[in-house]
């Protein structure tokens, strides 16, 4: 097999050679990119958690709540168009956080697995 495959593209083997990458120029105009900052609780700073696409500020906020906080209450969210950020240097760190508390089936421990079953 001459083509190279990587197993590490997440869900399994995909070829890594002879695949187009892209130039950053889509054929159609797209919703702008927003960066999302979340303050998890009082007394903490807002931290960068990721980004999303939205047509306007309200949509960005709404989507940020859905995607990054799963609408957990008690959090404060800032969204800002990526274009509006002026950057000095690299080395940002983006902490991620766990999903919302009231959807317990999202938590691995919700599923009763006998103790003798390994590796789960």
């Amino acid at each position: 097999m001459s083509e190279d495959f990587t197993a590490e593209g997440g869900h399994g083997a995909v070829p890594t050679e002879g695949v187009e990458t892209g130039q950053g120029k889509p054929a159609r105009r797209t919703w702008p990119l927003y960066e999302v900052f979340v303050r998890g609780k009082r007394g903490l700073n807002h931290v960068h958690v990721g980004s999303l696409h939205a047509a306007d500020d309200e949509m960005a906020l709404h989507n940020a709540r859905d995607v990054y906080t799963r609408r957990n209450e008690g959090v404060s969210i800032w969204v800002v168009k990526a274009d509006h950020i002026t950057a000095s240097s690299p080395a940002e760190k983006d902490p991620f956080f766990a999903p919302a508390g009231d959807k317990v089936y999202r938590h691995p421990t919700f599923y009763a697995i006998p103790e003798e079953v390994p590796h789960l």
Binding site: R42, L44, E58, D66, G74, V75, I77, W78, F110
Partner: protein
Amino acid sequence: MNAHHTDVEEHDATNAYQSLSETTDHDDPRWAFGTGIVEEAGAEITSSVPDGVDPGDLAAYCLMLGDDALIYSHRLSEWVSHAPELEEEVALANTALDLLGQARVLLARAGHVEGRDRDEDALAYLRPDAEFRNVGLAELSDDLDFARCIARLLVFSSWRLAVLHRLQGSADPVLAAVAGKGVKEITYHRDYAARWTLRLGDGTAESHRRMQAAIDAVWPYIGELFRTSDEERRLVEAGVAIDPADTREEVDAVLDQVLEKATLTRPERPFIGTIGGRSGRQGVHTEHLGHALAEMQSLARRHPGATW
């Protein structure tokens, strides 16, 4: 820098994502409902029926509100992997999950109150069409038309919010608990639908045409939302239910406001009628429900007695 910000309600400031990584006991069997909705409010499915209330009426009322949520959630789930953008995938799935959570508690309550040993799944999967008590609006498919999705959600959430808002003071502790949590959820759904109505109504010429057509298409199903069933009438007196007719003014005002801002026209179309005075609340449905149930119940019915 144009940072746009909001402070989401902070009444439970400790319930933040940081604390989520801390271990909590999720093996508690009550979590089987997946929502914590009743437990949070301190109400139990097995709470006794309020004094002077006919259990049959209460069970029927729980089914009405529960079936609305269940069937609406089911239809909304048709959108999975078909949404116009990934962000909308997440938003629509959240809405469907919220409604499914409401449905599960309401069906469980109905099952307990009627005392026929039926759990949420027996009620969802083994009842025939004519025993479902949802309104027609809940059983329509959007046929993957996003304008229809938004129009239907705008009407449904405006109405359900008005209902649940009034129901927070219900004499039935489970209904009051469902309403308390549901108000927060549905407020969010209505906001989502209203904003999208503005974008589509006042977006492009094509989106305006589609949004108007969608509003026109769901309009005939609005009339049924304000019809009061016999069970509801009796339960209103007992302080358990609310009269849906009382929500009409509020719902109309919300729709008028949104439609006007979205440059859409309020349709002048007749509402769908009843058969001998009966409609969804009495188990007389549109042709759409049978198809939804045929699919939803197919696997569960093929394996009687199986647990999943």
